[in-house]
Symmetry: D2
Subunit: 361 residues, 4 copies
């Protein structure tokens, strides 16, 4: 089922950008766990739009309401159900795009799937809005993982070619990851952050948008988590991460750089560290061998495409007339969604890993 | 379950590199379909080792035996069960690696998962050998897709930095894809192929290995295949593809190049072609919008790491003594597995797409 | 996952008797289907308590609110999410039963599963209250099945030994099934209904409760629905039906009577009827052979135990003191729940059958 | 998927009565467990035909061959794959039944499902033969459960109205259950066994067959196993048990007798026994409250219909001519399959319970 994920932690997302509510049910989450709602709200806020000039001015009050599964602040072992009631539901005028599909959007493919009558009001269930319930589930997982000494954190690795290079996949720490979370723009290097923001504003001024990449690390994960073949860490993290609209690629550890390497360069040699722990000198495998964690940081990078909604006139077709035409997309949109996608990527990693950790060994 | 994939087409792989047999069961495959066993054997041969000097000299007679599900050459609607009986099962001497994990292999992580007694004879269920049953399932899917006018084909995009650039993600045809399949070395550009082979032999001579990348296309897939969120084409293809050992990254369409693009560059504009069909001028989305096919070729690239087994002495640890040591891996191994992984990538794409196509609209 | 059912129609129920809301998500339901909310409300009302003197006086306004998945009265192809907001949530005083488990309830087994801290407020997720969301999903399925000419209906077959015998498993019609639905007490034979009601009132007066059985039929189901082995109609209907608390047995067609039969009696002989259709003279198989429908009415009976909550003093134990004690359960409870379970059994059958019908043949 | 069961223990059965082999894969079974193959063979023998005059004289050498998953006699943590190679595969002449469906068999419904070309050679995947692989999986589970102090055992409760009444659902012990397993005819009361055998022979002489019932108990199961709603012990045991062809009903504890009871009679009162353990005086709930075990014996009964294959002439139809006709089924068949189904019912219970036990609490 398209909007359901997990075997031991089963999350199920529902809603559309303009339905009365969007939400998520989470089954299999450990019972008796104290939920820190304030911390969750802070996590949600990192994804929410309208916070600054780099994202859409639409205000979405993403207040999370728990309808069941939490008693007196603790998970009670039953299915957790959390919703966000959609404010400002006045359906926009989407009559235009109903016949002239927007380039880069799912308008056309949804019509081809669901039929001509499919009404693409606001992107329906393809909307990036549905990453909000994903973040609820992910936020809960992040809180649980923290109690196990596991930290999930990400930073903006690049925006339109400008890179944040201060990231060491061997030595990255929980503190470094957490310090990024409190920043308004999730870079490690603040100078890079400034340049990226300039780039976004330049694109915005031109009625255009830009893409970028996000790098995520999970530190503190013990060795032995993950399964072989289709249930490896790479498989499961990918499966969830591609559920974030705009993701077009994912790579683990050295990723696509391995294509140019010798085996002797790429193999991460083991050694016994000063605490008697077995670690590797390099981390080209991204902390994963045979689908299973090796106690080094899990590291992966995700490619985020430029927001498809731009103000510039674009070529498209009229579906009814079967002829070429153009489209101008009104409204105000994010010139870049990379910064908002950072907590979504963290959520994806946390969900996939929690599900794998809850498997009986 | 780790070695099971699919909702409507359910494949389940079993076996180990040194068990009596390896095999696959396939449930949900269309009934009444004529299986071309010769064609399947040809497909399996592309993956098999020992065919040339670029791969391991181990001979594996990967003969496929159907134990049930096929009657008089046709699928009979019941679960298909196919096995390959392992020849030459004499277990190698793995006593070395039992205590000194090989860098780049799952020896260490498997021990951490299954406990100290885990006996990594030949990699067990982490073995690349298990891509053979995956290819059986994939080979059946490819035959079925062909009857629907859909062709799956891949080429070696690069080996150790040398690229096969003759691939046009907009105009690639079934004929081009098929012509690569008959080649001994799966490049479109034969000059590039020669250079790659030199590179592999050079690594081999040095007791080393090299990585590379594979580019896969699916042409003829109608628009409307795939689902939103977690069941999109990207999610499902990734899930299966990371089941091939050695894959460290996957990207669709422009992939990681989108990070450096403007929205106006990346958006694929629609137009009506000379046959009145709706197509896009570019194919940066890799034929996928909102997880769903748009009738352009599905295009994705996969990063394959260098074979971790190399002859050079490598640093590692003794698990029992908790101290640093070195390892020399004996035996003869593939200096490059990129060429053998090509049909595996095709199989992965075919399995994921067939499963999605068999969903009721 | 405990509260999730289905492969092609996936329903997922959540909530507890005293949580803010209870609800259900339904994924895979046919798109573009007009929901008759009034009809659904009528269906829900048949399950609701407080309608007459035979059931608990607690009033539950089981108003169904659709939070997503329905647009302009039609299913829109996305996941349907429906909730019932719990009124009167003032948690009762369950401090008694926390230490002294009620006989016949899940108090003790839940403690043994979830630990001593488990707080059985109102039965939590074991509550019969959760059959309300099951009825929402089932009510939608019944509406869809009706458009296919398939009618699901049940009657009270017995209460405390008094039987409603006017049911012909060979010739039962949609009209007969529907006429029962409009009755206040779901018997075919009104005289039997009266006697049953007397029996219930007698038990009520004595502070006791009574059990009974429900017989359900599905008419109009074409031949060929269902799968072999674990996905037969019997398997799937049973799986859902035992999700109704209080069900202790299920039998199809002649059911347990087959134990005393000869093959020659039990085998349903085929014949060609006056319309040229193939039918059977008897219906001992309950319309199911090899798990698959044969176009005769699907017929099954369900055993419903007496409500475990009774006013009489009962023996039980103190968990903390590990000694024998007694319990008096306060509050007012249903002296019989058989009549309220009738629509739940219909819902269970409809859900199981719809899921099987939505499988691609 | 029809022939797949389980979440934590996933069993997948394949094969047909006349395919080269039938078999089962078992995923998730605990690793490092020593398999007693002799014990398994003894278990399989209880199901095998041709042992005495009460069952079909067909000899089936149900030798179990493990193709993978077992190393040096221990489960090695990978998927277990076990097969039985079918001997005597000479396909019988089924041309008769291809047009004239046998009453009580799946011939007709399979044709309606799979189309006119469906070739019902020997019942295909509807064959009772497929309970053999189910027994392999169940036999492994029974061995594992025994190491946890849990015993699964069943007896013939009735054949054609003659009952074996010596069964006490409160006090039944592992020894009593095990003593039945060594008997040629699985009754507790040998006098009842004799009468049943006479009844079977009488039916056999008349070219007829008889049905019966099986009662199964699981003793030693700790409290707290099972889940609420759709994953209760009743739901899961039913789901697997109806996978045995010929089962038409199942009831737990007092079963259908609860319909005639008062709550005060049916409720099982708790008490502290002489060992300080909490038990119930009666066992009307069959050891299950809210889907979860209460440490009393799990008790259920199953209705087995008379073998549909009988020698007597039966009325049926010609599918091609759409007219009434008769059929005589040649060959020699079981006059009763109740005795052979006993280990199958044990297997079903063991599989369902092991799957639930392997869930992480």
């Amino acid at each position: 089922m398209p909007s359901t994920f997990g075997e031991n932690l089963k999350i199920s997302i529902y809603g559309e950008s303009h339905s009365e509510s969007i939400g998520v049910t989470v089954e299999g989450f450990p019972a008796g766990f104290p939920i820190d709602e304030e911390k969750l709200a802070a996590f949600m806020a990192r994804r929410a739009p309208g916070r600054d000039k780099f994202s859409t001015p639409r205000k979405e009050a993403d207040e999370v309401v728990f309808l069941s599964g939490i008693t007196d602040g603790f998970t009670d072992g039953t299915k957790i159900h959390a919703v966000i009631y959609n404010q400002n539901r006045k359906p926009k005028d989407y009559s235009d795009i109903s016949d002239t599909p927007r380039p880069g959007h799912a308008d056309y493919t949804a019509k081809m799937k669901y039929g001509a009558d499919y009404n693409a009001t606001g992107g329906g269930h393809f909307s990036g809005r549905l990453t909000a319930p994903m973040c609820i589930a992910g936020g809960l997982c992040i809180q649980w993982l923290e109690t196990k000494g596991i930290t999930v954190g990400a930073h903006i690795a690049s925006v339109h070619g400008i890179e944040d290079t201060r990231f060491d996949s061997v030595n990255i720490t929980a503190d470094e990851l957490n310090s990024v979370k409190s920043k308004a723009f999730a870079c490690i290097d603040d100078t890079a952050a400034e340049k990226m923001q300039d780039e976004i504003l330049k694109a915005k001024a031109a009625g255009n948008s830009v893409g970028g990449s996000i790098e995520c690390a999970v530190v503190g994960l013990p060795a032995g988590i993950g399964e072989h073949m289709f249930d490896g860490l790479e498989n499961r993290i990918s499966l969830v991460t591609f559920g974030i609209p705009a993701v077009k690629g994912i790579e683990f550890g050295a990723g696509f750089d391995v294509c140019d390497m010798y085996g002797s360069e790429n193999n991460d040699e083991f050694y016994v560290n000063e605490n008697g722990k077995i670690r590797t000198r390099t981390n080209n495998c991204g902390g994963i061998l045979g689908g299973i964690s090796n106690a080094m940081p899990i590291v992966f990078r995700v490619a985020i495409k430029p927001t498809p909604s731009i103000s510039l006139t674009q070529n498209t077709v009229s579906l009814s007339k079967k002829e070429n035409t153009t489209i101008n997309i009104g409204g105000r949109h994010d010139p870049c969604i990379v910064q908002r996608a950072v907590p979504c990527v963290e959520a994806a990693a946390a969900i996939a890993i929690t599900d794998l950790m809850l498997r009986k060994k």
